[in-house]
């Protein structure tokens, strides 16, 4: 067991966890933040994507103890009170999700991209997002949303 001290979605968290506790399980079961999904358990599908100090990680192959002293952002951390993040709203408005199981991971990965590159090209988006599998949408609308989100957020256009 180990005591970890971290911040999750801006809030301080202090917990004792077994060394082998996965980050995805810590978030979902210890903190009841079930927005993060587990799709493959081997770190390839991206459904479990969360931001660790701003970097996208597969939480199903990360240990909770790795997050000690870090800032973790999950899908629950994007909205401010009742106002959805522009990315979330765009996913709703422009068909970015269907069943929703990959969606939290898609949105977190997209946010990480836009944080480092606010105007990514279609090719840059595809390369960045290839770690987030989706079976329902075929990716087209997700890519269009990320490509046009800056214009959408400024009220200038839609995908």
């Amino acid at each position: 067991m180990r005591m970890i001290r971290l911040r999750v979605n801006g809030q301080p968290v202090v917990r004792e966890v077994p060394d082998h506790r996965l980050l995805v399980d810590f978030l979902r079961y210890d903190l009841s933040l079930t927005g993060t999904k587990e799709g493959c358990s081997v770190g390839v599908c991206g459904a479990c994507t969360v931001l660790l100090d701003g970097q996208p990680v597969s939480s199903c192959i990360a240990l909770a103890v790795m997050a000690d002293g870090c800032e973790v952002t999950t899908i629950e951390g994007l909205a401010e009170d009742d106002r959805l993040h522009p990315l979330q709203q765009a996913f709703i408005d422009y068909g970015g999700f269907q069943c929703g199981i990959c969606t939290p991971g898609q949105v977190m990965a997209a946010k990480a991209l836009l944080d480092v590159n606010p105007h990514p090209s279609k090719e840059e988006i595809q390369a960045w997002m290839m770690g987030n599998l989706c079976r329902c949408t075929g990716y087209y609308k997700i890519i269009e949303i990320i490509e046009s989100i800056q214009a959408v957020a400024e009220g200038k256009g839609a995908p």
Partner: protein, 312 residues
């Protein structure tokens, strides 16, 4: 480079009963109860749209309560490209019955016969011109003790429907003659559709189906050895990623014919099936290698290319 065509047809699913129950409350809010759950296809919104369309109310006035088979009337659920057709018709039936009940109520309030009352642009209008809106009607109905007002609609298809839902697709591939590597560059998917009730979710179905077909055509393979599956997780079983999608063009040929409400057809299982055929035909057009088992891998194309050259 080569292009290949694939075609597919199936009729909209027409099996199994559907039911829906529609209620209106004192604040003129509508609640539709359905036993089926929206799995992400957007069926919630399609049913919501049907109610809103018939009763001239905004979408926000309609709530769909879904998936509770303990309380909902019998519903087979989503599957077999049936739902917009059958659940849509059940919803339409419930809505039209409720509308008739509201017309009767409005006629009482307006002091005339129900046959003289029409719902026009959101108002119940009597023949001689008096009218009232739904909110006013429901506030009055509370005092008459007739709230909530509820009607259930059912629909049982009587057999296969006599409409087509054709899909024709053209795949353009680039094949490396040295390695057999296949790149799917462009795809056109053309669909014979009835009235499209929700363009956004309809297109979502087409795009998702296309990429599922691409996975089947090019990358997905479940390996079985001595009766045991050896492809154990998504690291081994290759689903298409955001990098694997071609430039896609969708063509909708819309006809006002179909068994769903407003002459809608179906689209759920249409865009996925013919993709492997289109891709295989495109590979044949590009390099003359005819493959008949999936996925179409570089190894198989390579073997075909070398066989054509007479290599052993």
């Amino acid at each position: 480079m080569g292009r290949g065509i694939g075609m597919y047809d199936r009729e909209p699913g027409a099996f199994g009963p559907s039911s829906a129950t529609l209620s209106i409350d004192a604040d003129a809010r509508l609640t539709l109860l359905t036993g089926a759950a929206d799995t992400g296809t957007g069926s919630y919104t399609v049913l919501q749209q049907i109610v809103a369309e018939e009763l001239h109310v905004p979408l926000a006035a309609v709530t769909v309560v879904q998936g509770d088979t303990d309380t909902a009337a019998y519903e087979v659920g989503a599957g077999g490209s049936r739902f917009t057709h059958t659940a849509g018709q059940a919803t339409l039936a419930a809505t039209r019955e409720l509308k008739q009940a509201l017309v009767t109520l409005a006629a009482q309030r307006l002091g005339c016969a129900p046959a003289q009352v029409q719902l026009h642009q959101g108002r119940f209008v009597a023949a001689e011109g008096h009218s009232l809106d739904l909110a006013t009607l429901m506030a009055w109905a509370v005092e008459q003790g007739t709230v909530p007002l509820t009607r259930t609609g059912s629909y049982l298809p009587t057999g296969p429907v006599a409409v087509t839902s054709f899909c024709a697709q053209v795949a353009e591939v680039e094949v490396d003659p040295e390695t057999g590597q296949v790149q799917l560059r462009k795809l056109v998917t053309a669909h014979d559709v009835g009235t499209v009730i929700n363009p956004l979710t309809h297109q979502g179905q087409i795009e998702g189906g296309v990429v599922q077909g691409i996975g089947q055509a090019l990358t997905e393979h479940l390996l079985v050895q001595d009766g045991a599956v050896t492809t154990l997780h998504l690291g081994d079983y290759k689903l298409p990623t955001a990098m694997d999608i071609p430039e896609l063009t969708t063509v909708l040929v819309e006809t006002k014919a179909g068994p769903a409400p407003y002459a809608g057809k179906a689209v759920g299982e249409l865009s996925n099936v013919a993709i492997p055929a289109a891709v295989a035909n495109a590979v044949f057009a590009a390099v003359g290698v005819r493959l008949t088992d999936l996925p179409i891998t570089a190894e198989k194309v390579y073997a075909g290319l070398r066989a054509k050259e007479g290599w052993k």
